[in-house]
């Protein structure tokens, strides 16, 4: 293949945002996107939304770019193609087809994969994960005939699936390995708020339980838990986390930890190779630590910054407070900044579960680093600003804990 000035591996939110940013600066430099999915950019976050799943939103609304966009922007889109290795010295990508793709500048926006259930029977039809559009289509088809469902996991995929399955009218049980929902990102009080709304809506939860086996011939008929209990089920939906696939990049000399390591300019240790999106384990200048953030806004913003850095002589620093939100079953939930538990974090509670409005403000030293918000999403932007501006909140813990105190006052 002809050499491309810019090669982007990954056709999701980060890869496409990078292409947009490159085209703002360099309209004509050759640009190739390699994506192992054949589709033009689609909305990965819409895949788990009930309105989309239940057909209240036309299916095609999931596509965010049409073929015309790639054509108009002179982007060579290699859909359905998988990169198998990177030669960082000679600057050549190999595809699984054996073809070679030389590059001048490379962006790795390869994303992460859904973790799969590793138990006997997990390969039966009716066991689902939700990462790609193809995954979504399979679940949509099974929902039409299914009467009962088991959801595995206690994070945002299973929360959104629970809402969806309830609306679709399936008799649903959620299996959690943890002691409460969303452990350990949330505290037990927040987790119980979510569990209450799940059970109030007629869904069942079994905690501290794991699947031992998926039952059935070719298709799922139920699950057996490790304690021997059996549940019948027409489908099994798993939201049990993600895995980073970085081993294939190690031979290129790329520095990896869990994800691909990068500095605050999203540069990797290899010359002319950047990283963006879920797979990036980057130096966060606001938190002064290496983090990996898997959400839409982070992918878009990192793609944009990496694209600018690839196409211009100026270096743009990635400095951004990331956030994501979800809603369902009468709750809105938002995570802002760094919500990872542990170390020397001080948590200031704001509001209370009994008031059905409860936030946890996470403080390290004198500053906020993150927050979890239940039914308080209107405070998301103010909290993000407090984090971004490194506001010293050490004298304001009482105010932070007062749910009626206007947080904007701390910004001035």
């Amino acid at each position: 293949m002809d050499k491309s000035k810019y090669v982007i591996i990954g056709g999701g939110a980060a890869g496409v945002a990078a292409a947009e940013a490159i085209r703002q600066i360099d309209q004509n430099g050759s640009l190739t996107i390699v994506s192992d999915e054949k589709h033009a950019l689609y909305s990965r976050v819409m895949l788990s939304k009930p309105n989309f799943f239940l057909g209240k939103i036309p299916f095609d609304q999931v596509y965010l770019k049409g073929d015309d966009w790639y054509r108009e922007n002179r982007i060579n889109f290699l859909g359905g193609q998988t990169a198998s290795s990177v030669d960082g010295v000679n600057k050549i990508i190999s595809l699984t087809t054996g073809e070679k793709l030389p590059y001048e500048k490379l962006l790795l926006a390869i994303g992460v994969r859904a973790r799969t259930l590793n138990v006997p029977g997990a390969d039966k039809s009716g066991v689902h994960y939700l990462r790609t559009l193809e995954d979504g289509k399979k679940i949509m088809a099974d929902l039409k005939t299914g009467k009962t469902a088991v959801v595995v996991g206690g994070g945002f995929i299973s929360f959104e699936m629970a809402d969806l399955l309830k609306l679709a009218g399936l008799d649903t049980t959620i299996i959690l390995r943890e002691a409460y929902f969303w452990e350990p990102i949330l505290d037990e009080a927040s987790g119980l708020m979510i569990e209450n709304s799940i059970t109030k809506n007629g869904l069942k939860i079994i905690k501290q339980a794991e699947i031992a086996e998926i039952n059935g011939a070719d298709s799922v008929t139920g699950v057996t838990l490790k304690n021997g209990r059996q549940l019948s089920s027409d489908l099994v939906l798993c939201g049990i986390g993600v895995i980073n696939q970085v081993d294939w990049l190690k031979s290129a000399g790329l520095a990896v930890n869990k994800g691909i390591l990068a500095n605050e300019y999203l540069e990797t240790n290899l010359p002319a190779v950047w990283v963006a999106g879920d797979i990036a384990e980057y130096k966060d200048v606001l938190l002064a630590e290496n983090v990996q953030m898997g959400n839409w806004v982070n992918a878009r913003e990192q793609g944009r910054i990496a694209g600018l850095n690839m196409a211009s002589d100026q270096k743009h620093q990635f400095k951004f407070v990331s956030f994501y939100t979800t809603q369902g079953l009468g709750l809105t939930i938002a995570f802002v900044g760094d919500v990872a538990p542990g170390r020397d974090r001080l948590i200031v509670p704001r509001g209370a579960p009994a008031l059905n409005s409860y936030a946890r403000l996470i403080i390290v030293g004198r500053e906020l680093v993150g927050a979890t918000l239940i039914n308080r999403t209107a405070e998301l932007t103010t909290i993000a600003k407090l984090i971004e501006n490194n506001v010293d909140v050490s004298d304001h813990h009482a105010a932070l804990a007062d749910p009626d105190f206007n947080l904007k006052k701390l910004l001035t």
């Binding site: 939110a13 819409m46 939103i57 839409w296 939100t325 932007t381």
Partner: protein, 86 residues
């Protein structure tokens, strides 16, 4: 779908006359806020609302609408013609 909220814009240097947020489509991903926190906020229903329709320039507004993962933000020119999504 009728659950749309309109925000009129009257900046002299702008071609955009109206911002519309479709509250049925909006999922509160907040990518619009990431692009322009001066223009948007989330309400307690986790839907995007426009705080100040005149805060951002046209390029920024267009970027905010393009960043939306559900195409819930629509932009119209001053004659009422839809600019985005096309």
């Amino acid at each position: 779908m009728a659950n749309q909220k309109e925000y009129l814009r009257n900046r002299a240097d702008s071609k955009i006359g109206k911002i519309v947020v479709d509250r049925d489509l909006c999922i509160g991903a907040a990518s619009c806020i990431a692009v322009s926190g001066e223009t948007y906020n989330l309400d307690n229903e986790n839907k995007a609302v426009v705080l100040d329709p005149n805060a951002a320039d046209d390029a920024t507004l267009l970027m905010s609408a393009q960043s939306c993962p559900t195409k819930a933000i629509w932009l119209f020119d001053k004659s009422g013609k839809q600019i985005f999504p096309k």
